[in-house]
């Protein structure tokens, strides 16, 4: 027999938990609805501010990425936790796009054998840097994401990529974190928000727009090449 976890005595002690549950539910549902409306407005505004502020640098970054791809470069992406899922999304966006040109891209968290081997034998701080040391060539692109800007393995990866002459692109949040102090990141896009969730949402927009502009730049490159060939 299952014991009632809320015997009558408890209900008598805390009647507000039981008698008013329905009224409470309605008020919490209202609070939750208002929260969704507020967050929708917050991210719409943040997106607008970031894209308006970063338009010139997004254009320059996309042109630089397009030049690397045109030269046969590959894109390597990396991040931790939620940002690792963004790294995977960035890679598949270039590799298997909804439209446009297919471009070579690889997310560095895909290979569990490599990730665990490096973490176990050397340490978690090198899981991306060592892969870039093995795979990266000077014409390639390193693309790292961190909401705090402080992930040590992401910072180490940028330093390795920069040493190898790769183009380096970073996305971070808050005030930029450690990533904002590095000389090894060619294009750093900082999302100025105190919310890790809004930062990730705006980062998603930034890397989608970068992809759109890179496709556009490659189209322009192709047109110029076609014109030159005539």
């Amino acid at each position: 027999m299952t014991e009632n976890p809320h015997p009558a005595g408890v209900q008598a002690l805390y009647p507000f938990l039981y008698a008013d549950a329905r009224a409470d539910l309605d008020s919490v549902l209202t609070q939750v609805r208002e929260s969704t409306v507020a967050k929708a407005a917050e991210i719409v505004e943040l997106r607008k501010v970031v894209l308006a502020r970063e338009a010139p640098r997004l254009a320059a970054c996309a042109a630089a990425m397009a030049a690397r791809f045109a030269a046969g470069g590959r894109l390597y992406t990396f991040g931790n936790g939620g940002s690792s899922t963004d790294a995977a999304e960035v890679a598949t966006t270039y590799l298997h796009p909804s439209s446009g040109r297919t471009l070579p891209a690889l997310s560095l968290t895909n290979d569990v054998a490599v990730m665990t081997a490096l973490s176990n034998d050397i340490g978690f701080d090198v899981v991306f840097a060592r892969q870039l040391a093995a795979l990266g060539r000077s014409r390639d692109i390193a693309f790292g994401l961190s909401t705090s800007g402080g992930s040590t393995n992401v910072v180490r990866a940028f330093e390795e990529a920069n040493r190898r002459g790769m183009l380096t692109v970073g996305l971070s949040g808050y005030a930029g974190g450690k990533m904002a102090e590095l000389d090894s990141i060619d294009y750093l896009f900082v999302i100025p928000s105190p919310s890790v969730h809004r930062i990730q949402e705006a980062q998603t927009t930034v890397y989608h727009v970068l992809w759109e502009l890179t496709q556009q730049a490659l189209g322009a490159t192709d047109e110029r090449a076609a014109t030159a060939a005539v």
Binding site: V32, T36, V37, Q216
Partner: protein, 206 residues
């Protein structure tokens, strides 16, 4: 016009293209609130969250799982969640033998319990394997939730879904961006219900 200037001019267009879809999320606030409440009840009953999708939505499935299991906000409790895109051996094995439509449904049959929540993500709502996953989840007694875009597609119309949340765009990139906000909000607001004792029924949290 130079390449850089033409790229620079494209950014405000990309920004404007996102605005109405972002604002339209406010119109889903009631549906989001109801979904969060039902999800909180399921977690309270000992259920776990099972998430699935293809391509970019597969990365969202992983993101949702890590969001619940390892919250970024200190002090929020860990809740059980898993993505069905993690295991390439099983995904490719099922796809090879039973067909790609079964990759999520198969794992749900093996892993799901009736109090669980199935969350399927599909930018156009037309992913057959996501629809199959949600249909099997419904048969098993799970709460079913779908994040879709456009007109909701076959998943939205199928009738196997308790809560359909729609991102109002036909551009898969914009749909994904709205989905990220949606699942962040789902995570945050499920916890709001946990913080109000007495709302979720007498079941004891595991």
């Amino acid at each position: 016009m130079s390449l850089i200037l033409s790229l620079e001019a494209a950014t405000p267009v990309a920004s404007a293209r996102r605005e109405s879809a972002g604002q339209a999320l406010a119109g889903q606030a009631e549906a989001v609130a109801r979904a969060c409440y039902d999800m909180a009840v399921r977690f309270h009953q000992g259920g776990k969250l099972i998430v699935f999708g293809n391509g970019g939505a597969g990365t969202d499935a992983n993101h949702v799982a890590v969001e619940f299991v390892h919250p970024v906000i200190v002090g929020k409790r860990a809740l059980p969640a898993m993505a069905l895109t993690n295991d390439p051996a099983t995904v490719t094995g099922v796809a090879n033998r039973e067909g790609f439509a079964e990759v999520f449904a198969h794992q749900l049959r093996c892993f799901a319990d009736p109090p669980d929540i199935a969350l399927g993500i599909s930018a156009d709502g037309e992913c057959v394997n996501v629809g199959r996953g949600l249909a099997v989840a419904r048969e098993l007694g799970l709460l079913t939730v779908a994040l879709v875009g456009g007109d909701g597609g076959a998943v939205g119309r199928g009738g196997a879904v308790d809560h359909v949340l729609v991102a109002m765009s036909t551009d898969p990139a914009v749909v994904k961006e709205v989905h990220v906000t949606m699942y962040h909000v789902l995570w945050e607001l499920v916890h709001v219900f946990f913080e109000q004792p007495g709302l979720l029924g007498p079941e004891v949290i595991r």
